[in-house]
């Protein structure tokens, strides 16, 4: 076992496993879950349907990308959208849905002159649409990339044999891609199953997730109930996350893609689904800027209500995000190396936080803070929480980064007498730097976007961008929320694209 594996094992053991063990020891879960049966079943059903719709949307866009020859610029834009979804703040997405689908929202303003009025907020449909459009990019990210790389030779061979496009799709492409389709379905299921901000905002009381219910139970001091639901959620999430992870690493016949120009259905459907993704995102980004009163109100009464201004919110947001990103990048740099050298435990431990939702981990931290430490450490606990939740993704990036380091160069350096530090600094570091930058910026974006942990651990004593937007939008300061949100989304996107730009040569 390499040193890198030990680092991540120690980190995850101390900051993820121990708090959870402590939580369950302090508040033993009750096994009388019959009270929660309908909630659990509804949560599973909602996530299953949301993921199915996301899968259909994702497949449609993936099909379009892998079968149509389009400009590289348009292709890169669609890929960027799929990546952005991973870091687009949940609270901003929810705000986007309110702006678009609200009773007086954009959609109704367009449709009302035609006598049509849509009233879907707080319904099952709203939750499904919200989650589906939020997760289509996840499907696109996992499936689309593989589909585009699918060897064109196989398709050509089938065409020569007289296969119709449907036959090629159903008998060749889908069977080859099935592990990726299942994996992306499971990821979309997981995101929908543990959804927080979207459900809190547009879900209403009928369609809560376990994540939201755990948060409510913690707020109401029902720690035993929260602990019970935590255990149920962890079991379901662990099964789905493990299956998704196993399936995603399957090999498949890659090669040069084969593009066609036939058919108009796939571009039209792809356009519809892409619009569904982009409309809430763009509305969320632009609404505050477009409404001249929004910023005026934010400065007149928004800061006053929040009890702090833009600079203090920025200070708190980055005081948590930067150290969290540093920790996540450092830990994943060593764990990624271990994984690239075949250390299985490193991969397993770094993916454990995926199986533990943010609310659950924040709840566990809170129980440790109350018992052993002081609540004044809550900003530090948030740093560690955010580092933990960013770890799985930054580990994946760093593992890929380490894969690009040729083993023979390291060996040559060692033969030349370089010690491990010298080898790392002068051989490995320049090669993995782009991956480190990407892991760092992505971790910052994840931390800035996170809401549930901040709500639980900040204790109302400080605000980050996401919690400030949430507080404004849920307390009669909607316009102010849109203004702050526009700036917030701009910052998150700016950081994300800066990372992409700096690592273009990767």
């Amino acid at each position: 076992m390499g040193r890198g594996a030990w680092n991540v094992i120690v980190f995850v053991s101390i900051f993820v496993i121990f708090p959870l063990v402590f939580l369950f020891a302090s508040f033993p879960p009750s096994f009388e879950i019959s009270k929660y049966t309908s909630l659990i079943l509804m949560n599973i059903f909602q996530a299953a349907v949301s993921a199915a719709v996301a899968l259909v949307g994702g497949i449609t866009i993936s099909y379009f990308l892998s079968h149509r020859k389009i400009s590289p610029f348009l292709r890169s834009i669609i890929h960027s959208i799929s990546k952005v979804s991973f870091i687009f703040p949940g609270v901003s997405m929810a705000l986007g849905f309110l702006i678009v689908f609200g009773k007086n929202g954009i959609l109704n303003q367009i449709l009302n002159p035609f006598g049509i009025h849509i009233n879907i907020l707080y319904t099952f449909l709203a939750v499904i649409i919200g989650h589906a459009f939020y997760n289509i990019p996840v499907v696109l990210y996992i499936t689309g990339t593989s589909w585009e790389k699918l060897s064109g030779e196989i398709i050509e061979a089938a065409e020569i044999d007289g296969a119709t496009p449907w036959r090629i799709f159903s008998s060749i492409e889908v069977p080859i891609l099935i592990p990726y389709l299942i994996s992306s379905y499971l990821m979309a299921f997981l995101y929908s199953f543990t959804s927080f901000a979207v459900v809190m905002t547009i879900g209403g009381f009928r369609y809560r997730t376990l994540e939201v219910e755990i948060y409510s139970k913690v707020s109401m001091l029902d720690f035993r109930g929260a602990s019970t639901l935590t255990l149920v959620q962890m079991l379901i999430v662990a099964v789905a996350a493990t299956a998704a992870s196993i399936l995603k690493n399957r090999d498949f016949p890659s090669g040069y893609p084969k593009f066609r120009k036939k058919g108009t259905l796939s571009p039209i459907l792809a356009f519809v689904f892409l619009s569904g993704i982009l409309l809430p995102m763009l509305s969320s980004l632009l609404y505050g800027f477009a409404n001249q009163n929004a910023f005026k109100l934010l400065f007149e009464r928004g800061w006053d209500f929040l009890g702090m201004g833009f600079f203090r919110i920025t200070f708190w947001s980055f005081s948590i995000a930067i150290p969290a990103a540093l920790i996540s990048t450092v830990v994943s740099t060593s764990s990624g190396r271990a994984s690239s050298h075949g250390r299985i435990l490193s991969g397993i431990f770094s993916s454990i936080p995926t199986a533990v939702s943010t609310v659950v981990l924040a709840f566990a931290y809170l129980s440790v803070l109350i018992k052993f430490l002081t609540e004044e450490l809550s900003p530090i606990s948030l740093v560690i929480l955010h580092a933990s939740i960013a770890l799985p993704m930054s580990h994946r990036i760093m593992e890929s980064g380490w894969m690009t380091v040729p083993r023979y160069i390291e060996e040559a350096a060692e033969i030349d007498g370089a010690n491990k530090i010298q080898t790392f600094l002068f051989v490995d570091f320049p090669i993995i730097l782009p991956a480190m930058i990407r892991a760092f910026t992505l971790s910052i974006a994840i931390s800035l976007s996170e809401l549930a942990g901040v709500l639980i651990l900040s204790g109302g004593k400080f605000l980050t961008f996401s919690s400030a937007v949430y507080r404004l939008m849920s307390s009669r300061h909607f316009l102010e929320a849109t203004a702050l949100n526009s700036v917030f989304v701009l910052i998150v996107l700016g950081i994300f694209f800066l990372g992409e730009f700096l690592t273009q040569r990767d």
């Binding site: 609200g102 001091l221 204790g459 939008m473």
Partner: protein
Amino acid sequence: MKRLVFILLLVTVLSFSNLVVYTYDSMVSGLAKDIAPIFESFYGEKVSFVSFGDAGKALSRLIIEGEKTKADIILGLDQNLLLKAEKYGILMKYKPVNYTKIKEALRPKEYLATPFDYGSIAIVYNTKTVKNPPKSFKDLLDPRFRRKIVVEDPRTSSTGLSFLLWTVAVYGEKFTDYWKKLKENLLTITSGWDEAFEMLERGEADIMVSYLTDGAYSYYYYKSTKFLPTVMKEGMFVQIEYVGIVKYTKKLELAKRFIELMLSDYVQEKIPLRQWMFPVTDVKLPEVFRKHVPKVEKILELDPKEISKNLNKWINEWEEALGM
């Protein structure tokens, strides 16, 4: 990293070196703005108002923090949340010097906390979208109000808890039957009053559980009566808000002064137009209150001992009725 940790700790500690008051959102953006400067000029000490959304959440936070809390005062508990605070033993008894200024009917017997305002909760509706408003609990079940009503969660909101108790006062043990029917007309349940009022103002909901003074509020700020309360024929339910000293305070003298300040004419005169509630002392009411707050003929009451004994049971039954 160590330096950053130190700075973070320092900022956190410095933020709480003054009198700390746990409260709810609208207090921070309202009355607190009047209290903070006057408290500072009187006593030379700053006062920080920390909000957790609704009063129920502020109380929960205080209970979670226990003796490690930085809070000296909790502001905005109603008579029902006060029972919970009493159960957890987190308040210090204090009989204010100005006790006799409090209207006799509102004077607390146990001195656990001091009332600072009161008012009736009410069903409030948007006059533009609801032409024939509900006048009774039965009317609220009318299918024309399907998915138009928003109520607050009694587990986190003092307004929501008062509404739950109001239904208990009207229907007794059969209140769950009422909620099962009302569920069909609920658009959603919010965690606090602010969130619900936001929905009413934004036009997402047409009816909400709010306060009898909302018509006066609407007239005062918008010179219109867009939102009006309706007086329910079964009777109304009064909510009293309290301010209490946290048992673990290290600034007891300052905390006592804060309580006295809440009963001063200065703060009591601000109550109507800041809190949109009635003052607990005999100060003059603004004209908008006299003209635009409907008269209440019948007040419903529940025995505090009954509430204390049954509250958890009622909340559990409410959860079951709504499938929560």
